[in-house]
Symmetry: C2
Subunit: 444 residues, 2 copies
C-alpha cells in the first residue's frame, strides 16, 4: 500500500500537516495565515464548542457578543497591550467608499470593549458577579502560521468576569480552570493535562496570576491548551469598572479572564494521531461508528442499514458508507485518517457466516462479531477506547518526563521531553538562563 502520511518519527511537523490535508480537516485560505475549516474539521470543533459551552453555562457565565471592529484609540488605553499587540493588528482604514477619520482595528481580543461595557453595566454590588463569555473570531497577524496552532484568524472563547472581592474572583478563576478547562481536556478530549501556574515572566500582561493547562504532544513538546487569569484590580482600574458596595462607598471590581481556541484542534491531532492519521476520542467523535458495505451482495446493503439503525437507536453517532462503487480499501484508509473510532465492515462472505467485522481504530484490533452482538460490542469499545486513549497519552507523557534535582539536569532533559525540577533550584535567574537555551518553564 502506498504511504499516505509522512511517518511521525521522520518529520513530525510534516506528518501534522499531512494529517490535516489528507483527513480533509482544513485547507489554507487565500490570505496567508488563514484557514478554511472543512466539514470534517468543523464537526470536531463544533462538538468541542458545544461541550465547553455547556460547562461554561454550568459555571454560571452567560454568552454575549461584542463587535469585530475596535476604534484604534481603545488599544492605546492600556499601554502594556499596545506593545504586546501592535505588530499583530490588522487595521481597516477604508469603509463606506472613503477613508475613515479614525482607523478601526480588527479585534485581537475583545477585552477593551468588554471592559468598557462592564463599566457601564456594573453599578452596585447587586450587579456582581458579572460573568460573561463570548465565542468569536479574532485576528492576530502571524508571521509563521501553522494550521490550527497559529493562524492569523482563529476562533476562540474569551470569558471576562467581574467580582466584588479578590476571594470571589480567585475562586471563579479556579472554578473555570478546573471544571471548564481541565475536566474538558481530560473527559472529552482524553488528554492528560498538567494544571498549574505560570511564572511571573510567562504571565499574561496585567495578570496577578495566570493558570495554564499544558499537554504533551506526540513529539514530547508542550502545548498550552488554555489559560485563566486573575487580573486583580488592574483591569478594573484601567477601565473604571466600579461598584457601590452594600456598606456604601465605591470600589474597583476584581476581574478574571480566560480563553481557549481552535488551537485545541491542533493539540488533539498532535496528542492522539498516529502514522495512520487522526484517532478521535469516542466521546468527541462526530461519527463514532461507520458501518461500511465492503462490496455489494445478497442482503449486504440491507444488513448494513439495519446495523446503522440499531446503533443509532442505541445512541451511537453512526454513519452508513454504502458507496460500493468506491474501492473499499480507499474508504477504509479515509476512515482511519479521519480517526473514526469504530468501523463495522459488512461483506458477503462474513454475512454468510452471520458476522460483521468490527475494526477498532484506537487499539488497532479487528475481529468478526455475530450480527446480534454488534451493538453491545461497539458501545463497549467506545467506552473502553475513550479511556485507553487517555491512558496511552498519559503513559507517553510519563515516559518522557523525568524528575531532576538541578537546573542543569532539567535543561538537558528538556531536549527530549519534559523535566520536573524544584522551583527552588530554578528561580527567576534560572528561568532566564533556561530561556536562553530555548527551554521554557511551562508550569509551576
Amino acid at each position: 500500500m502506498a504511504r499516505v502520511l509522512t511517518p511521525r518519527a521522520e518529520d513530525f511537523p510534516r506528518w501534522y500537516q499531512d494529517v490535516i490535508n489528507k483527513a480533509q480537516l482544513a485547507d489554507n485560505g487565500p490570505v496567508r495565515g488563514t484557514m478554511v475549516i472543512r466539514p470534517t474539521g468543523w464537526a470536531v470543533w463544533e462538538r468541542m464548542q458545544a461541550d465547553m459551552d455547556a460547562r461554561i453555562k454550568a459555571a454560571g457565565a452567560q454568552n454575549a457578543y461584542f463587535p469585530l471592529f475596535i476604534p484604534e484609540n481603545y488599544l492605546r488605553r492600556e499601554a502594556e497591550h499596545v506593545e504586546g499587540f501592535s505588530p499583530e493588528l490588522a487595521v481597516v482604514t477604508h469603509a463606506g467608499g472613503k477613508e475613515l477619520s479614525e482607523p478601526l482595528v480588527v479585534r485581537p481580543t475583545s477585552e477593551t470593549v468588554i471592559g468598557e461595557f462592564m463599566a457601564k453595566w456594573v453599578d452596585s454590588y447587586r450587579d456582581l458577579p458579572l460573568l460573561l463569555n463570548q465565542w468569536a473570531n479574532v485576528v492576530r497577524w502571524e508571521m509563521r502560521p501553522r494550521t490550527f496552532l497559529r493562524t492569523t484568524e482563529f476562533l476562540w472563547q474569551e470569558g471576562h468576569t467581574a467580582h466584588a472581592t479578590e476571594a470571589d474572583a480567585r475562586a471563579y478563576a479556579r472554578l473555570i480552570h478546573k471544571t471548564v478547562y481541565e475536566d474538558f481536556m481530560v473527559e472529552l478530549l482524553a488528554i492528560p493535562v498538567i494544571p498549574g501556574r505560570k511564572t511571573k515572566g510567562e504571565r499574561f500582561a496585567g495578570a496577578t496570576n495566570t493558570m495554564t493547562v499544558e499537554a504533551m504532544m506526540g513529539d514530547a513538546k508542550a502545548l498550552q491548551m488554555g489559560t485563566s487569569h486573575e487580573l486583580g484590580q488592574n483591569f478594573a482600574t484601567a477601565f473604571d469598572i466600579t461598584y457601590s458596595s452594600s456598606a456604601g462607598g465605591v470600589q474597583h471590581c476584581w476581574t478574571t479572564s480566560w480563553g481557549t481556541s481552535t488551537r485545541m484542534v491542533g493539540g488533539l491531532i498532535m496528542v492522539h494521531g498516529d502514522d495512520n492519521g487522526l484517532r478521535l476520542p469516542p466521546r468527541l467523535a462526530p461519527v463514532q461508528a461507520q458501518v461500511m458495505v465492503v462490496k455489494a451482495g445478497e442482503g449486504v446493503i440491507e444488513a448494513a442499514a439495519r446495523l446503522r439503525d440499531d446503533l443509532a437507536a442505541a445512541g451511537v453517532r453512526v454513519r452508513l458508507d454504502d458507496r460500493a462503487d468506491v474501492p473499499f480499501g480507499r474508504r477504509a484508509v479515509d476512515a482511519e485518517l479521519q480517526g473514526v473510532p469504530v468501523r463495522i465492515e459488512v461483506g458477503p462472505r462474513d454475512l454468510a457466516a452471520g458476522n460483521a467485522v468490527v475494526a477498532r481504530r484506537i487499539d488497532g484490533t479487528k475481529a468478526p462479531v455475530p450480527l446480534a452482538g454488534v451493538v453491545a460490542e461497539v458501545t463497549a469499545a467506545l467506552e473502553t477506547d475513550q479511556q485507553r486513549l487517555y491512558d496511552d497519552a498519559l503513559a507517553f507523557r510519563e515516559a518522557h518526563m523525568v524528575d531532576v534535582p538541578t537546573l542543569g539536569d532539567a535543561i538537558e532533559a528538556a531536549q527530549t521531553g519534559w523535566a520536573r525540577v524544584p522551583w527552588s533550584a530554578v528561580g527567576t535567574e534560572g528561568e532566564a538562563e533556561a530561556n536562553g537555551k530555548a527551554v521554557t518553564v511551562r508550569c509551576l
Copy 2:
C-alpha cells in the same frame, strides 16, 4: 406607574429602540452601526441558531468555516457584485505593522471564497451534491443603521450548494425554503410568513430565481426574513465549478445559496412586541417560566425553589428570581419587557391559601393556581400561548391586507398595509411605477 416604553401607536421605530434598550437586548457598539448583543438578546439568537442549525443538518448540509479576509481582487471577479457591494466594503490596508501589498476586504459574504473552494473540492459526479453552510459574522457598511435590522456587522448563516442538475438544485433550494426557513418561522418564531418568489427586478444578482419569506411587522410594513436563490449555472461558470459526469464529459454545476441573519431578532420584536415590551414565543424563549418570590415570608423561598425544581423536572426552562431586596414591581416589569412567557409569583398571602399566581405574558391573564396544579397549568399555557401568538400575528396580517383588482388600488392600500393584486395587473412597468411611489412588490 411611569411609562416604560414609547407606545407603538405614537412612534413605532422609537418603541422598537426602547424595547431593545429596556429589555437589555443590545447596546450600540463603539463604532457607528455596530452592536453589542447583551446576554438577554444573545440567548434568543442562540436558540434561533440551534433550532435552525438542526434543520439545516436534517436537510443534509454540513457546516464549514471560511476566512474573514478576502483578497480585494476576488470581488472584482464578478463584475455585478463589485457594483453591488463596493460602497459597503470595509478594507484592511495595514497589518503586521506595515502596509499590505494587496488590500483585504472584510467579507460582506463568503460566496467568492466558497466558490473557489467548491471548484477545488468538486471533481466528479460522486462529489455531488456538495451541501455547505457557514455561521459567521459579515460586514457591510451601513449608512442608516438600525439595531438588528441593518447593522454594519451582522451574524448570519449562508448556505451554498452545488448539484449535478438543474432539477436537483431547484428541489434543494425549495427544500431549504420550506423546511428550514418557512417551517422555522412558523413553528419556532410563531410568525406567519408568506413564502413566494421575488420579481426579476428584486432578484439577487446572478440568480435565476429568488424565493423569500416575508412577514408583516406590527406597523403593517413588510420584513424579508430570509431568502433562497437558484443560481442556475451562473455562479458555477464564474468560479469554474465543474464535474465530470457519469456518462463522461465535463459540466458546470448548478448551484444555490440561501441566508438568514440576526435581522430575524428584529423581526421577532416587531411582530410580537406590545406596549409592555417583547413577547417571546414559548418554544423559542430561553426562559419559559420565571418563578418569583414576591416578598420574603414563612416558607416562601422554599416553596418557590420547589416550584422551580418541579418545572425543571417537567422540562420547562425555568429561572428562579428570589431577589426579595429588589422591589417586586420592578422585577415584574423587567420580566414583561423581556417577554418571559409565564411568571409564577409566590408571596406569603397566596402561599397561606395554598396558591401561587400564574401570570401569562401573551394573553395577559393572571390568576391564582393551587401549588399542586402549577406545573400542569404552566405546561398547558406554554403550548396554548405559542399557538395564540401565531394566531394573533396572522389575524393582524389579515386585517391589514386587502385583495385589490388594480395597481392603483394596490398603491393606495399599501399606505396602511399590504395589498394582494394579480401580477397581470402590475407587470414590470407597473412595478417601476409602484417603486416610484415607495411601494415594493415583495412577493409573487
